[in-house]
């Protein structure tokens, strides 16, 4: 994103396991509670962080994850971007691209969410709901970049209006 000021960023490089995911979510929540000061927004960031890290546990081929969360001040308002990068299999990368294309093509994320919930209720294994849940419940965009066996999921959305339009106390 051009012309932005990086206001607050967290970068985590680690090999997540189940308990570390919860710790990471709590850390991210605490950190952005002080930065953003809005509990509802912080809860959306926490949910996205948790789901992305659990995806790493489920799908990473080497168990490692690079997670980056940036808050950027732009002329259009404060934008939060989460990037989760990991290695995976070609099959998983293909499935992920197809899923993200479906999310991007949807004009009504909540309707797609309900459709995918019904689909998921019939599945025996896995939920397949992590990314659509992020899209529908956090109101942030979900994209993905695939470069060979490296997958980066990007979650991005506006979390505050432009600072000049915010009321002053």
């Amino acid at each position: 994103m051009n012309g932005h000021v990086n206001a607050a960023a967290i970068r985590l490089d680690f090999r997540p396991h189940i308990d570390l995911v919860t710790s990471a979510r709590k850390f991210v929540s605490d950190f952005y509670e002080h930065v953003l000061g809005d509990a509802d927004t912080v809860s959306r960031v926490a949910l996205a962080t948790h789901e992305l890290l659990e995806n790493v546990i489920k799908y990473s081929s080497d168990g490692r994850s690079h997670l980056e969360i940036e808050l950027m001040e732009t002329s259009l308002g404060d934008v939060l971007r989460i990037r989760a990068r990991n290695r995976t299999t070609v099959q998983r990368a293909g499935e992920l691209k197809a899923l993200v294309s479906e999310l991007e093509a949807s004009t009504d994320p909540f309707a797609l969410y309900l459709k995918m919930m019904r689909r998921s209720g019939l599945q025996q294994e896995g939920s397949g709901l992590g990314l659509i849940r992020i899209r529908a419940e956090t109101d942030m965009d979900v994209r993905c970049d695939v470069d060979g066996d490296v997958v980066t999921i990007i979650v991005e959305g506006q979390v505050a209006p432009p600072r000049s339009t915010q009321p002053t106390v």
Partner: protein
């Protein structure tokens, strides 16, 4: 008829059902994450069986102490609600969800569950 004992008290997650007349009450506490996934799935199946056996009219899920739910656990609720929806109308029971407005994820996630089956799920 008495409710079978299938409470779960794990570090980080607990599931405590009780029976009160025509209602089952289940209190969820802690974090419904990957650690709780299999337990929760099996508890909800058991809860459904008990609700049908005891012919209750309502199951109240108390989420006021549930700090977080991941998508896999969320899916277990989807599966449960879908199962209740598939019952014959006379055998169906309502699912009431008591939320904690301080836990912001709940208003979005529980609303999604309500929209999945508006005639069955209510939120308070």
């Amino acid at each position: 008829m008495e409710l079978a004992n299938f409470s779960v008290m794990e570090p980080g997650f607990s599931f405590e059902p009780s029976h009160d007349g025509e209602m089952l009450l289940v209190r969820f506490t802690g974090n419904a994450d990957m650690n709780a996934m299999k337990i929760l799935s099996s508890c909800l199946k058991r809860l459904h069986d008990e609700a049908v056996r005891l012919q209750v009219r309502e199951v109240m899920c108390d989420f006021t102490g549930l700090f977080f739910m991941n998508s896999s656990c969320f899916k277990s609720f989807v599966a449960w609600i879908t199962t209740v929806e598939a019952l014959e109308p006379r055998a169906r029971y309502r699912i009431r969800m008591r939320s904690n407005m301080q836990l912001h994820w709940q208003k979005r996630s529980l609303e999604a569950l309500r929209c999945l089956a508006e005639k069955i799920v209510t939120i308070e």
